[in-house]
């Protein structure tokens, strides 16, 4: 059932308005904080009001502009889009609070918060895009809006990272444009919601090119190896930006785009016949393992997080590539699981850096004694990554394994085990040293992180726990993901 609803454009519109207000009136700290936080909250509420309908299977649509003629910029809220929008707007509230605390006394705060709001606006645009072109539009805008954030420090290293970031993502955008044009050419339409735009185009010689272009294009932001090179470099950005890149917006936009390509553009049935996805699954599996090994080798907190992100994202890609209902459920749910766990980690990394000036992992030793709350949040996130039951990460691993078995790919189970071990290998020692070894070389006055930095970390850590235990609670993200899977046509109902 499709319902015309203005809230669909209001949601990205509010962040856009917020950005404009920040740019024009944002010189005053108080006003700026009010705008940013207010917009974040209003948007969250707005999206929550859409939630009940979404759970019942209502699809909200809105057509904004006829650009280009006949295709149009249009919005459409289905289960998958709702899920992504909900995750990103929840996290935006947390990140905003955190950023207000973190960016105190930094330069160019107007620019920072302006583009910050723009990023979130475009992210919701991506989530609500009703066709491939709208998706591409917001995807490109996201690239542009994150650039000033990545190079916020304006140091040579930051500028270099920015260049690398743009080179990767713009090339990816160009590939997506190519893919979009190919889809329009082959299918004559770009609108989502038909369960496979290209279903009628089987056997066309340009079909493989379209698949490669779209997957490679979105794969850049999804950090699919070997397209992942920009992410570790982009770690020079301020921590809230890293959080935004890793959890809320950029990388999630990449995997979200991949999900759209697989479920809405090509469709499960067509892909099952074509067999391209087995290659994609293999690539994802390779990325999971290789990135984990790379993470083991890192000694810097944020760099290890970057490699961990690359590894985690490929869970989602793998889930989508397996083309089975359980795997799809795992893929969608992991958007939230990874987001909350990872953003907790970043909040902790930033809090530690701001409070103690420490950025290396071995310097975390003993911090549990000084900053117990911060390290509690860290521990919860780490356990989730390892995949301990009752934590969010476990849900993903469980359903991904089930999905693998459904697809007859038993190696997925082994892969999950191996990944859990690797995660344990690079997170648990840090947890151990933080709690069970005495602090070293700390200046005497160091205490717990300030509330503005600590609270978001604790809230998101709590959410990680909640996600892990609430899979049977109606109205929680998991049920939404189930609803989404039901609507991904061709996959059938989840149990």
């Amino acid at each position: 059932m499709e319902v015309l609803d203005i809230r669909v454009v209001l949601a990205p519109g509010i962040s856009l308005l917020c950005a404009l207000l920040v740019f024009v009136l944002g010189r005053h700290d108080g006003w700026r904080a009010t705008f940013t936080l207010g917009a974040a909250l209003i948007k969250l509420v707005l999206i929550l009001t859409l939630l009940p309908g979404s759970l019942e299977g209502v699809v909200y649509v809105y057509r904004a502009f006829d650009f280009p003629p006949g295709i149009g910029i249009a919005f459409r809220v289905d289960g998958l889009g709702m899920f992504f929008a909900l995750v990103s707007s929840t996290l935006w509230v947390l990140t905003t609070i955190y950023a207000i605390g973190y960016m105190r006394d930094q330069h160019d705060r107007v620019r920072f918060f302006g583009f910050f709001a723009l990023c979130v606006s475009t992210t919701v645009g991506i989530a609500f895009a009703a066709n491939l072109l709208t998706l591409l539009l917001f995807y490109e805008l996201l690239t542009i809006c994150t650039y000033p954030l990545v190079i916020h420090d304006e140091t040579p290293a930051a500028l270099k990272a920015g260049r690398k970031y743009l080179a990767y993502t713009l090339a990816g955008g160009a590939l997506i444009l190519l893919g979009t044009v190919l889809v329009q050419h082959l299918a004559g339409s770009l609108a989502f919601g038909t369960g496979g735009l290209l279903a009628g185009a089987a056997g066309q010689p340009l079909l493989p090119l379209a698949f490669v272009a779209l997957v490679a294009g979105f794969g850049v932001k999804a950090c699919l190896m070997p397209l992942h090179g920009w992410l570790p470099t982009a770690m020079v950005a301020p921590t809230p930006v890293s959080a935004l890149l890793h959890a809320v917006a950029v990388v999630k936009a990449g995997v979200f785009g991949l999900l759209r390509v697989i479920y809405d553009v090509f469709g499960v049935e067509l892909l099952a016949g074509l067999g391209y996805t087995s290659w994609l699954a293999a690539l994802a599996a390779f990325t999971i393992l290789a990135a984990s090994f790379a993470a083991l080798a890192q000694v810097n907190f944020k760099r290890r997080l970057a490699w961990s992100t690359i590894s985690q994202l490929s869970y989602i890609v793998l889930g989508a590539a397996l083309l089975t209902p359980f795997a799809a459920l795992a893929a969608i749910v992991h958007i939230a699981n990874q987001a909350f766990a990872k953003i907790t980690m970043f909040f902790v990394a930033g809090a530690v850096e701001r409070t103690t000036g420490r950025t290396e992992l071995r310097e975390l030793t003993g911090l549990g004694h000084v900053m117990p709350w911060t390290m509690t949040a860290f521990t919860i996130a780490a356990l989730s990554f390892v995949g301990v039951p009752l934590f969010a990460g476990f849900v993903t691993k469980w359903y991904l394994s089930l999905g693998g078995l459904q697809a007859g790919a038993w190696w997925v189970v082994l892969l999950m085990l191996a990944s859990a071990l690797l995660n344990a290998a690079y997170w648990l020692p840090v947890v151990y040293r933080a709690w069970f070894q005495p602090p070293r070389g700390l200046e005497p006055g160091v205490r717990e992180a300030p509330l503005l930095l600590l609270a978001p970390a604790l809230v998101s850590a709590a959410y990680v726990l909640l996600l892990g235990v609430s899979t049977r609670v109606p109205g929680m993200p998991f049920s939404l993901a189930e609803a989404a899977v039901r609507f991904v046509s061709g996959i059938g109902a989840a149990p």
Partner: protein, 491 residues
């Protein structure tokens, strides 16, 4: 009402001749006069366009002499480019008010406005011409005024560039005139529709081919299509910025529009296969996209970068004409219009920045974006548009060109186009980086003030059009599709 068609071109031309006399006692009146005429032109073009959208293309027999005996003017989908001419014209004239005070010596100023009006009138006449010789006369109006305007600001580089431009332009005009002579000798007519009709019965192949070759070569020079672009960068970069805007946005389009006008003349010939010509144009266009972008990448001077970007963008348009499918030509023609708006935005914004800051290389201009926030926003919008980022106006042309390349079964051209677009992005990124994210090299930059309102207003208006033109772009696209259908259908 229908009499407005001949008056559209006549208004600026007569006003141009009167301007020095009017401004003789009161030099300040020149600007007001020119702006008023520009506004009048915009109004007339608006009325013509409304009629076009209501009733379709319409003709006017000047003096009541029925074609082919007399001169016919025709306002069709291709002529709708007049809107671009009028919009850019008004913006440039308004912008010139403050700019010319600094850049054009006082004794030249009235003549400068006069030449600008001649240029605009010639352009509108060219867009509406349905007669080969009338086309030539309008082209010469534009050319003579353009050569001189390049040198209006003074300076040795400008004078040299103007001379170079003059020689290249005059030779290309001669080629066109030569072809007109041949066609007249073959058919005894000058009216384009009539020539096309009578050419179909001509048996001699040699002269037809020669005329086609001369027209193509002549208009290629006018359009600065690679490798015949050598006159362009210096001329566009050394002219006063408003003039650069007119040259880059409008005058080079003369060549493209001319090609689009004359190629259908030859479509009725059974024995003549235009495919090789189209193939050649497509390749030249693709090469121009990449070569222009690469050359722009090497420039340090802001206006030279923009000038080379014009070479690259002409490549887009010609590629569209060369692919010769309805979608591709729609893309090319839509880009004719939108590139005019975008490039005018960029040149005027660059002009405002150079005017305020007094520097013109990227190094010297570092950090200027913070000092001139509004101009900076306009420039950024223009940059995003020229790069072809959705939903700006620049995306539409790219989109239809890509679809057209696939429609023609040439995905290779689509890939080349995307590669070119990426290169373009890289060099525009250099501009944004320098203006916003690098520490200033010159301390004077910190004291630079925002441009005065008379400069800011036209720049902002154009920038807004670059954005809204994309979102509400169905009108231009529909017109371009109409023109493309006529082109593809053989005129």
């Amino acid at each position: 009402m229908e009499h407005l068609l001949p008056l559209a071109a006549a208004l600026p031309l007569v006003a141009a001749a009167l301007l020095p006399a009017v401004a003789w006692r009161r030099p300040d009146a020149a600007w007001g006069w020119a702006v008023a005429v520009g506004a009048g032109l915009l109004g007339i073009v608006g009325l013509l366009l409304r009629r076009l959208l209501q009733d379709g293309p319409f003709s006017y027999a000047v003096g009541g002499w029925a074609p082919p005996w007399g001169i016919e003017l025709r306002f069709d989908a291709l002529s709708a480019f007049s809107l671009g001419i009028a919009l850019v014209g008004v913006a440039v004239l308004v912008f010139s008010g403050r700019y010319a005070q600094a850049a054009v010596p006082p004794q030249r100023r009235a003549w400068y406005y006069s030449l600008l009006l001649v240029n605009l009138g010639g352009l509108v006449g060219f867009a509406c011409a349905a007669d080969l010789f009338n086309l030539f006369v309008c082209m010469e109006l534009v050319s003579v005024s353009s050569y001189a305007l390049v040198a209006a600001g003074g300076g040795r580089i400008a004078a040299l560039a103007a001379f170079k431009y003059l020689v290249a332009g005059a030779v290309s005009s001669l080629l066109v005139l030569f072809a007109v002579g041949i066609l007249h000798a073959l058919t005894g007519s000058l009216n384009m529709a009539d020539v096309a009709l009578r050419l179909a019965d001509v048996e001699a192949r040699g002269p037809v081919l020669l005329a086609l070759g001369a027209l193509t070569a002549g208009f290629m020079v006018k359009a600065a299509l690679f490798p015949l672009h050598l006159w362009l960068p210096d001329a566009h970069a050394s002219a006063p910025s408003p003039v650069s805007a007119v040259l880059s946005a409008l005058v080079v389009k003369l060549g493209v529009l001319g090609l689009a006008r004359v190629l259908p003349l030859f479509a009725g010939l059974d024995w003549l296969v235009l495919a090789p010509l189209h193939e050649g144009l497509a390749w030249l266009g693709a090469i121009a996209i990449v070569a222009g972008a690469l050359a722009a990448l090497l420039q340090e001077d802001l206006k030279l970068m923009l000038a080379y970007s014009t070479v690259s963008n002409i490549g887009y348009i010609v590629l569209g004409l060369g692919l010769a499918t309805p979608l591709a030509m729609t893309g090319g023609l839509v880009h004719v219009f939108y590139h005019a708006l975008i490039k005018a935005t960029l040149f005027l914004a660059a002009g405002a920045i150079i005017h305020q800051a007094g520097f013109r290389t990227l190094r010297d201009l570092r950090g200027v974006g913070r000092a001139m926030p509004w101009t900076g926003v306009a420039l950024s919008l223009g940059v995003l548009a020229i790069v072809g980022l959705p939903p700006t106006a620049g995306f539409l042309g790219k989109w239809y060109l890509l679809l057209g390349a696939l429609e023609a079964g040439r995905p290779g051209f689509a890939v080349a186009l995307l590669a070119g677009a990426l290169l373009i992005f890289v060099y525009y990124l250099r501009i944004l980086n320098a203006f916003y994210f690098r520490a200033p090299l010159r301390e004077q930059i910190l004291a630079v003030r925002e441009a005065p309102l008379s400069m800011l207003l036209p720049v902002m208006a154009l920038a807004l059009l670059c954005l809204l033109g994309g979102l509400f772009g169905s009108g231009p696209v529909a017109l371009a599709a109409l023109a493309a259908a006529r082109l593809a259908g053989g005129g």
